[in-house]
């Protein structure tokens, strides 16, 4: 037993056990909080829970009243639940640090917590709502029209296969390979970060579904592989191999023509 206690892995095991216990304890406590913080209607409870999450996770940058902090974080009043759902469900928010572009990260809140947060932000000043499952359904969507719209309105930044691309001063348009239909809809509706807004009168809900159907469809196309430049195949490796072989051939040519050994006069 003593020998086992002195085993180098033992201390890690103890730390892991402690972490697991704390985690379960926290979940238990917050679970109780959820249940007890429902004074009236379900919506009221959801908003209260969302406010609690907001104060804990978001208010350090966005301000206690979500009014925003100049130079640090924008006001969230009127951005709507769609913007909250997009930012938090893609893991972009809560942000790790202020950066030119917040990258997609593992999600840090549960779907229930995200919806509570979204309800709270929506209660501050309306804004676009989270689309329903029917609004992002691809059944009956027109993929070809979606492609035409995507090429016109989206491809200049996101690449014609949704592989993403660079913008100015460290910003970039992300790849759409991991985006869910709901997130694509929300992004068009709210224009997260540098992305332009495509409201429902500019790109109609039906056209949004067409675009989503196209983006989803591209994922099922055969991929020639390689370091993907938007499914153009192993072009980058080819370039590196081409340049490397070119260098090799130059040295080979030098070697072949170089004088060598003793010359016969």
């Amino acid at each position: 037993m003593t020998a086992r206690r002195r085993h180098p892995a033992a201390r890690y095991l103890v730390i892991l056990l402690g972490l697991v216990l704390v985690g379960f304890g926290y979940a238990l406590v917050t679970g109780i909080g959820e249940a007890s913080a429902a004074p009236g209607s379900a919506l009221q409870g959801q908003i209260a829970q969302g406010r609690a999450i907001f104060l804990q996770e978001c208010s350090s940058c966005h301000g206690i009243y979500a009014q925003g902090v100049p130079g640090l974080a924008p006001s969230l009043i009127g951005v709507g639940s769609a913007a909250v759902d997009f930012q938090v469900s893609t893991g972009r928010m809560p942000a790790r640090e202020p950066a030119a572009e917040n990258p997609r990260k593992p999600v840090q809140l549960t779907t229930r917590q995200i919806h509570a947060l979204a309800a709270y932000i929506a209660s501050l000043g309306g804004g676009p709502a989270i689309p329903s499952a029917a609004q992002v359904s691809q059944s009956g969507a027109h993929v070809a029209l979606g492609q035409a719209l995507f090429v016109t309105d989206c491809a200049q930044c996101h690449n014609f296969q949704g592989a993403g691309g660079a913008l100015t001063y460290g910003k970039f348009a992300p790849a759409l390979t991991a985006s869910t239909p709901t997130q694509i809809y929300e992004a068009m509706l709210t224009g997260p970060e540098a992305m332009p807004v495509f409201n429902n009168t500019t790109i109609t809900p039906q056209q949004k579904r067409d675009i989503i159907a196209y983006v989803v469809q591209t994922r099922n196309e055969p991929n020639p592989g390689g370091f993907s430049l938007g499914r153009v195949g192993p072009v980058t490796e080819g370039l590196v191999a081409f340049l490397g072989m070119l260098l090799f051939m130059v040295f080979a040519a030098l070697w072949i023509t170089a004088r060598h050994g003793k010359t016969h006069e």
Binding site: A148, L149, V151, T152, D153, Q156, C157, G165, L167, T168, Y169, K171, A173, G191, E193, A194, M195, P196, V197, F198, N199, T201, T202, I203, Q207, P222, I256, R259, H260, G261, K262, T263, H264
Partner: protein
């Protein structure tokens, strides 16, 4: 034929030839018979043996032996790869995309190995086994001898005379006449490179009252529908949706700004680096989509910084300040399209651009 007891030539049968071989010493075809010297009588002629120019053997004989084995190995690799090519051609089916890829890989690899083996083998052969000696060889004079030149001149003149080309001017002139148009024809075809653009580069198809249609949806735009600040769409002139020659110059992006974001100026006294106020509608500004650098579609719009970025060479324009260039190789701002609304409330062009769109050109005013 082979069963015939006699050979193809009568009397030249097997026994006779064998008998001859037994009697006479072996002699290689093409060499003089033994005892006869082509150089004459050895008693009177003493050949001065010229010094050997090339060594018969490399200096390093053991090294040469090793090199020989390496070269042989290279050639064997090429042989095996060549056989592999033949096998792969038949072994890999090409009835699917993946099959074609595999077949291409096998054929390409084996071909590469064939040439690599041959190239490496011959290179090592030349470098390690053949002598590395510089030889110089004198060159004969380029000018022909006087007799040859005189003979040629005579032949030529005789030929010219006999051909009647000199004697019959009718034939000569008609032949020349026939050649002239045939020679001119390809030069005339160069006209197809034209016509000259003349005023085409100066103007676009935008004219007063022409509606702005959202590209691909082909729907007219109202300030009310294009209402969200931060919105940006591509629009095309109504009636020219499929006219790519026209669109190459007339494509336009419209951007909706929040109140107070845009720096405005007056049409009568325009200030560079500002947006002409009465060419906009409800903080909607229209700019040419054609980059002023080399004409790429510049439509990477960032609603936070209001930058319009051209993806080709990273020219960056500030949309709130009249699309002024703030980075990159472009030298002129994107021209602003004058806009207004028509009686039905749709966005229309007030008139054409007041300056040429797209990259600079020689005759640009």
């Amino acid at each position: 034929m082979s069963d015939s007891p006699a050979g193809p030539w009568p009397g030249d049968d097997q026994t006779a030839r064998n008998g001859a071989a037994d009697e006479a010493p072996r002699r290689v075809i093409g060499t003089p018979p033994p005892g006869v010297s082509l150089l004459g009588d050895p008693a009177t002629y003493t050949p001065a043996a010229p010094p050997r120019e090339l060594p018969a053997d490399p200096d390093d004989l053991p090294g040469a032996k090793r090199a020989e084995r390496v070269v042989a190995a290279c050639f064997l690799i090429a042989t095996v790869a060549g056989l592999a090519f033949l096998v792969a051609y038949f072994a890999f089916p090409v009835h699917s995309l993946v099959g074609v890829q595999r077949s291409n890989l096998a054929l390409g690899l084996s071909t590469a190995l064939v040439f690599l083996g041959l190239a490496a083998g011959t290179t090592i052969w030349v470098r390690r086994l053949m002598p590395d000696v510089e030889l110089t060889e004198g060159r004969k004079p380029l000018r022909s001898s006087e007799e040859d030149r005189a003979a040629f001149e005579q032949t030529f003149n005789e030929g010219a005379d006999a051909s009647q080309f000199v004697k019959r001017p009718l034939l000569r002139r008609t032949l020349i006449a026939a050649a002239v148009p045939a020679t001119l024809a390809p030069i005339v075809l160069l006209r197809d490179l034209g016509p000259l653009p003349r005023k085409d580069l100066t103007f676009t198809v935008w004219r007063p009252g022409l509606r702005l249609l959202k590209a691909d949806a082909n729907t007219p735009v109202t300030p009310g529908s294009f209402s969200s600040p931060g919105g940006m769409i591509t629009v095309v002139p109504d009636g020219y949706q499929e006219n790519f020659d026209a669109l190459a110059k007339a494509a336009v992006i419209i951007i909706r700004f929040a109140p107070g974001q845009v720096e405005y100026t007056n049409e009568d006294h325009p200030v560079p680096g500002k947006v002409v106020a009465n060419w906009t509608v409800d903080n909607i500004v229209a700019y040419s989509k054609i980059c002023t650098h080399v004409g790429c579609p510049a439509a990477l719009y960032e609603q936070t910084t209001h930058h319009i970025l051209c993806p080709c060479h990273q020219s960056t324009f500030d949309a709130t300040r009249g699309a002024k260039v703030i980075f990159g190789p472009a030298t002129r701002p994107l021209p602003q399209l004058p806009m207004t609304v028509d009686a039905q409330g749709f966005l229309v062009a007030r008139h054409d651009f007041t300056e040429p769109v797209g990259p600079s050109y020689w005759e640009r005013p």
